[in-house]
Amino acid sequence: MRFSQSHHMPYTGIDEAGLGWPISNSRFDAQTATDLFRTYIDAKIYAEECGFDEIGCNEHHMSPFGMMPNPNLIAASITERTSTAGIFQCGNLLPLINPLRIAEEYAMLDVMSGGRLIAGLMRGIPHEYVAYNIAPDESWGRMREAVELILKAWTEPEPFGWEGEFYQFRAVSIWPKPVQTPHPPLVMSGGSPTSAKFAAEHRAVMGILRVTDLGQARQLIDIYKEQARADGWEAGPDRFMIGLPTAVAETFDEAKQVLHGGTQYFFDVLQGGINRALQLVVQTTKYNADDRNIRPLDKDEQMKLMPVEERIEHGQVLCGTPDMVVDQIRHLYAELGHGHMNLIIKVGNMPDDFVRRSMELLRDGVFGEVRSLGAASASSAPEPAEPTAI
């Protein structure tokens, strides 16, 4: 089992619930943000010392939900202060950004880190499309084309041009190219049947980055495996990443209490504005037409109200003492057969000293107990295929 650390870098200097979209930045305090950035980047760097295999960054826009509109800037900082951990970019959001810029910046990170980049190619969540004024109806079309273009930019040995539906470039030859060949490992979201199939077609690691229901997660993993078999290979545990909010403490009561408080803040304050934009996108566009790509809002409400014990039972969170979390990971592995976990170690406004202590407890009492899970059976064809159909 491999572990990534995920930290959204939320702005926690506000307490008002139920704010609309976008949340006004008149509430922003510069000194608070500067202090938070120092604390958060230190926490990310500390993950390497705490035995995490990878350190994750992700992209979100125009919300205190996360202060990483360009996660590559944070990753560059992490790269310089770490030496062994993978640099896991859980986004960039392809439909929103110039794909060549993503190819270039990811290549830079791979070179700067000596080949430690894990390249997340994500579609994003609906409110991002409002933020960057991209038609949500174009989401999948842009996503599919951008993935092909980025792979070409990384792998094509001769300069080339591109005539696409959304992107046109006449002279492409990026410098630098990535260190890893044929290109850095890919991670794609598995939040829907369409996404799961798409990830399998690209032999990417599929991230179910926020589990709401074990049955649904199993179904998505099965869709991925079925597509892999149809393409002539077997997907092992190394192809599946499960993302969970995580709180570890010396006592269950403490972990539960901190997780509960952070969760309330997350849903009430950080996610409030986002939900309004999400509703507008889903109600007025075909963003979600192919399948249920996003969580229904009532599911969020259920998660917020659900006792922590039930959330553990549903596989939604890791919470408790190190021994309890070991048991929870074993249970999840028995249910899903995954080989990778993305631990969201800062939930809402969880105290930052708790976050660091939680990571230390994971290092000292959890990781060593579960490393062997899923490690013995790798996929039969882990490397991505040639990006074209040749």
Partner: protein
């Protein structure tokens, strides 16, 4: 667009050609399916005087005695350019047409400027699996969007004649060793166009062309198979036009409202 069909007598015999439009001459060389009107061809006819010769033996035309090689067709077309285009013109070839166009640019460099090699045949490595000519397989390999195919206008006899002509000129192997050895002799500005779903021309082949031809550009057309003019007519037509009218400057974004000139 008004397409006229004419005949010209050359030293080896008569050659039929389609023509339309006014402007500088442009030679359009058809693929092994014969000549079919497409969106890009219509677009070119708005800017150029289109000359689209029919390879003798295709589309119901008679073969010419002693003419059974691709370089031989190129020689014939050099003579046609001398007669109809004052000795030099833009050349666009698709698939088989690109094969002929490449030989034209090598053996008669004074006749071609610039050159477009679209889905170029003749460069499929000999160790690649043999090309299938089964209709169902071909349908899948030729078109990403089979529904975009125009209605068939050729008679059963013409279609059978085209299949015979493919054998006559030994096009099926899709590999021309001599051409591959000499491809670096092309000196004119060249655009290579390849569909991202083209499995009949391997991507390695167009990479090699881009590498070997000194003044070449390679452009991938996203979401198009071998028949790029049918799968993505608007994008391919605009690309042809931009390259032919602006030359090497086609890599520069002209901005909205700036007409290519």
């Amino acid at each position: 667009m008004k397409l006229e069909t004419k005949t010209i007598r050359l030293s080896q015999g008569e050659v039929r050609y389609h023509t339309a439009g006014d402007g500088p001459p442009l030679l359009y060389l058809h693929p092994a399916a014969g000549f079919r009107l497409s969106g890009p061809i219509e677009r070119l006819a708005n800017r150029f005087r289109l000359i689209a010769p029919i390879v003798p033996g295709f589309d119901g035309t008679e073969r010419l005695p002693g003419l059974d090689t691709i370089p031989g067709i190129a020689n014939l077309y050099a003579e046609l350019i001398a007669e109809l285009a004052d000795g030099a013109c833009d050349v666009v070839g698709q698939s088989l047409g690109a094969w002929i166009g490449a030989w034209l640019a090598i053996d008669h460099p004074e006749t071609v400027e610039p050159l477009v090699l679209a889905s170029p045949a003749g460069f499929r490595p000999p160790d690649a699996p043999p090309l299938s000519f089964e209709p169902e397989v071909m349908l899948k390999q030729l078109y990403a969007y089979p529904d975009k195919r125009p209605p068939e206008t050729k008679s059963a006899e013409q279609l059978a004649g085209n299949r015979d002509a493919v054998k006559h000129y030994r096009i099926g192997a899709a590999w021309d060793g001599e051409l591959n050895r000499r491809i670096g002799e092309i000196r004119c500005l060249t655009l290579i166009v390849h569909g991202t779903k083209d499995v009949r021309v391997p991507v390695e082949a167009v990479r090699k062309l881009r590498h070997d031809i000194p003044h070449a550009h390679l452009v991938f057309v996203y979401d198009a198979a071998h028949s790029i003019e049918i799968d993505q007519p608007e994008r391919v037509g605009a690309l042809y036009e931009d390259f032919l009218l602006r030359g090497e400057a086609f890599i520069v974004n002209p901005g909205s409202g700036t007409e290519a000139s």
